[in-house]
Subunit: 261 residues, 2 copies
């Protein structure tokens, strides 16, 4: 099967013009088919502040009331997405920016939580693999903003990690998918305070050991659980590392590779 890279970049890169530029240069130079999923960054929070809309986070997830949804739609699907697309276009990379409503690429439903009302937050139901494959076949580099829809006319704010994972899983029947999560740290660390303690590879047995010895930083556990879930659904490999180092992450020379061996 043909390889496909699904790469998620986080807010810290998006908030830093220089880092973003440098990342996009490296990204544009990556060969083969690829999909970029971006998070939001601080512009949404700043804008909410200017507009006097109070922001509330629970477990790192933004509670999305109607006004906040408007802001994240503007910032994520508008400014951030188109900014990235225009930059990639200038780097000879035929990027096309989409949110999940576009072409019904990502269908979701409003989260129905027994205790917390997350507001207009979406949980993914289905990826339109037919259209995505079709667009990739036209040599388009897809850039997804973390906004989905429910097919009833409602846009929904959706976690970018989850979108990357769902896209990677659903395309794994058609491509040899590598899923790359970039974040602030150079990989999964043995000592959260020391960037020189990157664990190069984690398989299921080692993960169990690390967890039982409480060697894994709590914030990493959902990411790793998701990584193993992706592998169990057909994704070939998952790499966690720094966006600044994307070429090496793709080549498997840095970051932490999660595998099922």
């Amino acid at each position: 099967m043909e390889p496909l890279l699904v790469i998620k970049i986080g807010g810290n890169i998006i908030d830093d013009d220089e880092k973003l530029s440098s990342f996009l240069q490296d990204y544009a130079a990556l060969e083969g088919k690829k999909i970029l999923v971006h998070g939001g960054g601080k512009l949404a929070t700043r804008l909410a502040g200017l507009m006097g809309i109070e922001q509330k986070l629970i477990d790192g997830r933004r509670i999305t009331n109607a006004e906040t949804l408007k802001i994240v739609t503007m910032v994520y699907a508008g400014y951030v997405n188109k900014q990235i697309v225009a930059k990639l276009q200038s780097l000879n990379c035929n990027a096309m920016g989409l949110c999940g409503a576009d072409g019904d690429t990502i269908l979701a439903h409003k989260r129905n939580h027994p205790v917390i009302d997350y507001g207009f937050v979406g949980d993914v139901d289905e990826i339109n693999t037919e259209l995505i494959r079709n667009l990739l076949q036209q040599n388009l580099d897809l850039v997804f903003a973390p906004i989905t829809h429910d097919q009833q006319g409602q846009l929904l704010n959706t976690n970018a990690d989850t979108i990357a994972q769902e896209i990677a899983k659903s395309l794994s029947g058609f491509f040899e998918v590598s899923l790359i999560y970039s974040f602030e740290k150079p990989g999964v660390l043995l000592d959260a305070e020391d960037d020189n303690t990157v664990i190069p590879a984690i398989g299921p047995a080692y993960y169990k050991t690390l967890k039982s010895k409480q060697k894994i930083f709590a914030g990493m556990i959902p990411k790793l659980d998701n990584a193993f879930a992706a592998l169990n659904s057909g994704v070939k490999k998952v790499v966690i590392g720094q966006a600044e180092d994307i070429r090496n992450l793709v080549a498997g020379n840095s970051g932490t590779t999660i595998n099922n061996d």
Copy 2:
């Protein structure tokens, strides 16, 4: 040749939730291939006010400094575009929202005016007809936001009327294109104060007469000049009228039809 509708809706519809909803219902029900181009509406101006960014218009065109470009990108390519796409998706219309940077669909250059510095305003150079035809072939209903790019990484604010016209012209070699401009009035009026004086059809000779008798409202002249330019470039017909009446405009039962007869 297969028919194609290129429909431009203006800000007055976008600013009115009820009118927009009703328009989109009618739009979704229109048969055949179609492209929607939308303008901006007042949200951009409101947001600029909240953010303390002074807005300047010259001849009805927004002077687009860097901060204003950020706002129009957010509002036009983000909020307005995705809002329309999500609503159309709920109406069984497989909409996909794009700006001109996406897939390099609309290439433009920064306007170089001898006297006025319009800022980040783009004049269209080229429409990527190959990609647009390809997307239409996949039964996608394209929805364009009035933002283009220069292939050098710069997004540009671009007049929505112009985008509709350029798309219509460039696709006229492949489709039988009807270009429909919707605005506040029910058509071109003989008496600007009286909505019951719609001129049903205007050809080149009649247009000359109307202009020489100064019967055409000054604001309409660029629209009509553009309409004739579109006809001369292969567009089959141009209709000007009210978005609320889109079904009749498409059927040729209302509004003003500009023709070359």
